[in-house]
């Protein structure tokens, strides 16, 4: 199991992390090292074993349908990179 540079670019695109060509070799080396460490797991016989997503076997608690959050826009937008008229601004979204 070894990732090609194209695969690394594709994953990086999915994760929205720019990787320059200069960084590629080191990154790919590290990722492939980690993947080969993980690879031993494939030999484990897990037939019939239910995947375990949570540490505790519990079910979801439900909340009453009540509004308890107040408008804190000013607090929240004080720490925003760019806002105008109460909106968060980003480079133009093209649909």
């Amino acid at each position: 199991m070894s990732l090609s540079p194209e695969q690394v670019f594709r994953i990086a695109q999915l994760a929205r992390i720019e990787i320059t060509t200069a960084e590629m070799d080191v990154m790919r080396g590290h990722l492939n090292g980690i993947l080969s460490m993980i690879d031993e797991m494939q030999a484990v016989d897990t037939r019939g074993v239910e995947p375990m997503a949570h540490a505790q076997e519990l079910t979801q608690r439900l909340r009453a349908d009540e509004v308890f959050e107040m408008n804190r826009r000013d607090d929240f937008q004080e720490i925003a990179p760019e806002v105008e008229n109460g909106l968060y601004l980003v480079p133009k979204v093209i649909e």
Partner: protein, 497 residues
């Protein structure tokens, strides 16, 4: 006062021998003096701390104080604290002043504790040496050429160097226990669901758990009393009656010479064989601690946890998968750092995240995206989750034969700065004994059990005890009885006076 236990501090504050303001100032002075060397804190805000200390003093004189009122605490920078810079050790949150408090912060504030500052950590808790922090590595107070461990390295160094009497940490794969071991402290990772994750910035949600880091088991128990409790804001928080984690510590033993009589300690073969070769001085110290526990009345049983050897693999699938998703919110839109130059929206995302995250975070985000991606999900993610269940089942079987499990916390003592930074896999292997505990969601504690000679320096060795779900009180009691019979936990690093 800097070496006093929490109980001693509490008595001194109640008796008026010292005020919270004086105590806080003393620790702030030590931080000012020693932090430039150790780099244990990312943020210190004297005015905020002193304001809390003044409020604590008012409560103390009004007679409304609790057992922790007025006692300073260092908060890991993973906990959101209202009005405090909360960076998680990352550039991407380098300007994030939290508009709200984490549950742990709220609870400690309500207990009247004084926040001394926010401690350094591996970026988003991803690391085992505190070298992935954007704010630079933490140095080990026992040897400043060595790492303090990670990811709660700042908290560990702060407590070890007496910059704080006690600190909070978080543990996803060993991030409380391993730095506790490297720094000569007592660190407890509670059962998953005991301490609320609300406001604790997520690394791997199904594994993350906050816990106390202190110089003794008793101090850990006292801090855990304040940290733990049901929180309806965290869907994974467990509804249980409140517990006093100190309750077993003071119970008189039938035979005072054998306070651990009746306790069955399991010794998993895999923690001692060549699955993970252990540093010889560590092996010797752990063997000696087993003897000590036997002297205290404990029985030992050899057993096996056959699937624990796959813990590292399963963990490095599950944790990065959850992390890759948890860290998607850091996109430079609503808060945090945004790249200065970009050509369009996509470019803004890619540059903000490329420049805002460090190398280790990027590696894990990419591994996580890969193992979840189309065509790989079953082979990686589901397989890892199945192994996770096998590991949990191993522990469940073990706990039918024994009350606690014992082994080294880490195969190594604190290593030199830079020693493992070029080889992520070598770094990951330092958590080989701690990781399985998080996968199963069990409580684990690391306590000092000896020292290793490394050249001129003497470095702490950690012993890990693992309990069944919700057995924190029993774990803390075993650690406490051991600490009453030994003095490893009372040693003080040289040069921090």
């Amino acid at each position: 006062m800097i070496n006093a236990s929490l109980s001693e501090l509490s008595r001194a504050l109640s008796a008026g021998h010292i005020s919270s303001v004086e105590l806080t100032q003393e620790f702030l002075r030590r931080i000012a003096r020693l932090n430039p060397t150790l780099n244990a804190f990312i943020t210190v805000d004297e005015e905020k701390s002193l304001a809390q200390a003044r409020a604590a003093d008012a409560a103390l004189s009004a007679g409304t104080a609790g057992p922790l009122t007025g006692i300073p605490v260092a908060q890991k920078d993973l906990f959101c604290a209202k009005g405090w810079l909360t960076t998680c050790g990352s550039k991407i949150l380098s300007n994030f002043v939290s508009p709200y408090d984490a549950a742990v912060v709220e609870r400690l504030n309500e207990a009247g504790m004084v926040c001394l500052g926010k401690t350094n950590m591996d970026e988003f808790a991803m690391g085992s040496s505190n070298e992935t922090s954007f704010y630079g590595p933490v140095r080990n107070p026992w040897d400043t050429g060595r790492v303090a461990g990670g990811s709660s390295g700042g908290s560990a160094a702060a407590v070890a160097a007496r910059l704080a009497p006690v600190a909070t940490g978080t543990d996803t794969g060993g991030s409380i226990r391993q730095p506790a071991a490297f720094s000569g402290l007592c660190g407890l990772k509670p059962s998953y669901g005991i301490v609320s994750r609300w406001g604790m910035v997520a690394f791997a949600s199904s594994l993350d758990q906050a816990g106390p880091m202190a110089r003794s088991a008793r101090d850990c128990a006292l801090l855990l009393n304040a940290m733990a409790g049901f929180d309806p804001r965290d869907s994974t928080s467990i509804e249980r009656a409140p517990e006093d984690y100190c309750r077993e510590l003071d119970a008189p033993a039938a035979d005072p010479a054998k306070p651990l009589a009746g306790l069955r300690i399991g010794l998993p073969r895999e923690f001692f064989d060549d699955t993970a070769p252990c540093d010889p001085q560590t092996s010797a110290a752990v063997a000696a601690s087993i003897e000590e526990l036997r002297r205290l009345g404990a029985q030992t049983i050899e057993l096996s946890l056959p699937n624990v050897r796959h813990g590292i693999s399963a963990y490095y699938v599950i944790a990065p998968a959850e992390a890759s998703s948890n860290l998607s919110r850091f996109d430079g839109v609503r808060y945090g750092w945004r790249a200065p130059d970009y050509s369009n929206l996509e470019d803004m995302y890619c540059k903000t995240r490329a420049q805002g995250f460090g190398a280790e975070v990027k590696r894990r985000v990419l591994i996580g995206a890969y193992v979840l991606s189309h065509g790989y999900y079953d082979a990686f993610y589901l397989q890892a989750q199945r192994i996770r269940r096998l590991i949990a089942a191993d522990f469940a079987a073990a706990f039918t034969q024994c009350d606690l499990l014992l082994g080294p916390t880490s195969p190594d003592i604190a290593f030199a700065l830079g020693e493992k930074t070029d080889d992520p896999v070598q770094m990951y292997l330092t958590d080989i004994y701690t990781i399985a505990v998080n996968l199963a969601g069990l409580p684990g504690i690391s306590i000092p059990c000896g020292f290793a000679q490394a050249g001129e320096k003497s470095l702490p060795i950690g012993l890990q005890l693992i309990g069944n779900y919700f057995s924190e009180a029993r774990l803390l009691n075993a650690a406490h009885r051991y600490q009453q019979a030994t003095d490893w936990h009372t040693r003080i690093p040289e040069g921090i006076e």
